[in-house]
């Protein structure tokens, strides 16, 4: 009995310590970046030597940080367009594939989800060569196309999950009461799957904003993207503005996440 209690105690201690380490590892770096961004010093150091807003002030300076602003606006523009395009295309596709089975449906589903498993770097290179052979130079519209392809699976996943919760009896009764397809879609299907679509759209937006492998190949001097610019700023190591950009990004994501949690129950949707 005593041995048993000792063994259960070691279980609690070992699992508890590892889990605590897990939580620390997950959240620690985010906190460290936030604190570093308020440093008074001129180098990236933790703990920061005194607190100030100097790096944020420099970051928001329209002249000295114009390149960062340009890149941020480009990223925002691309993320919005890719989000809308991916949401429309993937929502239509998931309505088409819902409640259908068979070899073709499964094959198509695997095809649509494949950008998630495939090394995106390979796709980025492939897209660069493809567009070059078509005679196109790297530009924002090309990045939008590339991002749409890689973020569509996020919308497809969350929307398909909501579609599977739609009771087919509702659709049948709507049809038997004489409602047309579009009316049924608008009044029955859409209200049920809207939270799934919204969660997917949000993930697609964030994934596009964050994308490196596709932007790396398709961005040029006139179509600089924020993550690529941040990479350049990190290479030089002296630029503490990276910490300030990170702080802005973390705050934005946190705010959006809290809103999405309220509106569509984001975290639960991501888990299931």
């Amino acid at each position: 009995m005593l041995a048993r209690r000792a063994s259960d105690l070691t279980y609690s201690v070992v699992i508890g310590l590892l889990a605590g380490l897990g939580l620390l590892v997950l959240i620690g770096p985010v906190v460290i970046v936030l604190l570093t961004s308020f440093t008074l010093g001129r180098s990236i150091k933790f703990p920061p030597s005194g607190l100030s807003l100097q790096w944020y002030r420099l970051l928001f300076d329209p002249v000295s940080s114009s390149q960062i602003h340009r890149a941020a606006l480009n990223s925002l523009e691309v993320a919005l367009v890719a989000m809308v395009a991916a949401t429309v295309l993937a929502t239509l596709a998931s309505v088409a594939l819902a409640r259908r089975s068979g070899r073709w449906v499964r094959a198509l589903d695997t095809f649509f989800m494949s950008p998630m498993i495939l090394p995106m770097l390979a796709f980025g290179l492939a897209a660069l060569m493809y567009f070059t052979f078509l005679g196109l130079r790297p530009s924002l519209p090309l990045i939008m196309v590339g991002h749409t392809v890689v973020v569509a699976p996020f919308v497809l996943r969350t929307t398909s999950a909501s579609m599977s919760q739609l009771d087919p009896a509702l659709l049948e009764s709507s049809a038997s009461l004489g409602a047309g397809w579009l009316y049924t879609f608008r009044r029955v299907t859409l209200p049920v799957i809207a939270p799934g679509i919204a969660a997917g759209a949000f993930l697609a937006f964030v994934a596009s904003l964050d994308n490196v492998p596709v932007s790396l190949f398709l961005s040029g001097p006139r179509s600089d993207m924020l993550p690529i610019r941040m990479w350049g700023m990190m290479e030089s190591m002296l630029d503490v503005r990276v910490a300030a950009v990170s702080g802005v990004l973390i705050a934005t994501v946190l705010a959006l996440m809290l809103i999405m949690e309220r509106v569509v129950g984001l975290t639960r949707r991501l888990r299931d």
């Binding site: 048993r4 259960d8 279980y11 609690s12 070992v14 699992i15 889990a19 897990g22 939580l23 590892v25 997950l26 959240i27 620690g28 770096p29 985010v30 460290i32 990236i44 150091k45 933790f46 703990p47 295309l89 239509l92 596709a93 088409a96 594939l97 259908r100 198509l108 095809f111 090394p119 770097l121 390979a122 290179l125 492939a126 060569m129 493809y130 196309v145 590339g146 392809v149 569509a152 659709l171 397809w181 904003l209 964050d210 490196v212 190949f217 993550p227 941040m230 990479w231 990190m234 190591m237 910490a243 950009v245 990170s246 990004l249 996440m257 984001l266 975290t267 639960r268 991501l270 888990r271």
Partner: protein
């Protein structure tokens, strides 16, 4: 539009994927078969040169090893956290879920940057090391493989945990209670009940982490430096620095196949494990 013709709604995405995903990937395969960087001679010379070079094989092994080490580290720390999640009340479950998802949505570049702050010469770890007197001089953590594995462990942790938390939240708590009621110790319940039931989530997490860690170019490059060479670095150098597209394509396809084989191996181990558990 009727129920019968609903399938046509899949056409726009299918066409978009065919034009902007399938065709470019086909092109990648085609370009890799050319022998020169002007893309004129179709002789497969780049494949022979690349795979005939012992350095290539070292890079492939290192890339797969990096993925394997990251999978091991994320499982070792992530799985216990998922166990705690399983036993926690609703409030703590929400806190854990939040802590997992916040870094997931935080840019990979930001997470990579965090590790420069932590692992650098004046970083958190070195400050602690000097303060505790563990070492007289700052440790070299950036540009080392173990530094990179530590960073990737955090960067990839959320995608290990999401599928794990998903299976944990669907697990029937009665089974664990029954196991305890029948006199099994906590360790025994873990090995005989919880682990087999959550194996699909663990396998899914391992697959995602492996695929992501082996291709995380920015993290590998910024934290590992250019002395640690992995396949993504070769793809980048050959395509955007040297402009040898056939060789870049060869490296990209090699990465694709390596990741595919690694993921398939993890899936096979998972099936083995399930057969053993039942």
């Amino acid at each position: 539009m009727t129920r019968e013709s609903e399938w046509q709604l899949a056409l726009p995405l299918t066409l978009a994927y065919a034009a902007f995903f399938l065709v470019p990937l086909g092109l990648l395969i085609a370009v890799s078969a050319f022998g020169d960087d002007r893309i004129t001679t179709l002789d497969g010379a780049q494949w022979r040169k690349f795979l005939g070079d012992p350095f290539t094989w070292k890079v492939i092994v290192d890339t797969v090893k990096l993925g394997g080490l990251t999978v091991a580290a994320t499982s070792l720390i992530g799985y216990p956290l998922a166990l705690v999640y399983l036993g926690a009340g609703p409030r703590w479950q929400r806190v854990i879920l939040f802590v997992v998802i916040l870094p997931l949505l935080t840019s990979v570049v930001v997470r990579t940057f965090a590790w420069i702050v932590i692992l650098g010469r004046e970083g958190v770890i070195n400050q602690a090391v000097l303060w505790l007197g563990v070492s007289p001089a700052p440790l070299r953590l950036l540009q080392t493989e173990h530094g990179l594995v530590i960073a990737l462990t955090q960067i990839e942790m959320p995608i290990m945990l999401l599928p794990l938390l998903s299976v944990m939240s669907r697990m029937d708590p009665n089974l664990r209670d029954a196991s305890a009621g029948l006199g099994a110790s906590k360790w025994r319940t873990l090995v005989r009940v919880t682990l087999p039931l959550s194996l699909p989530g663990l396998v899914a997490g391992c697959m995602l982490v492996f695929a992501s860690a082996t291709t995380a170019f920015i993290s590998q490059f910024v934290i590992g430096g250019n002395r640690l060479v992995y396949l993504p670095l070769i793809i980048w150098q050959q395509s955007l620095v040297v402009y040898n597209w056939p060789l870049a394509s060869v490296a990209a396809l090699t990465l694709l196949v390596s990741v595919g084989l690694g993921v398939a191996a993890i899936a096979a181990v998972g099936r083995r494990g399930r057969a053993y558990a039942v």
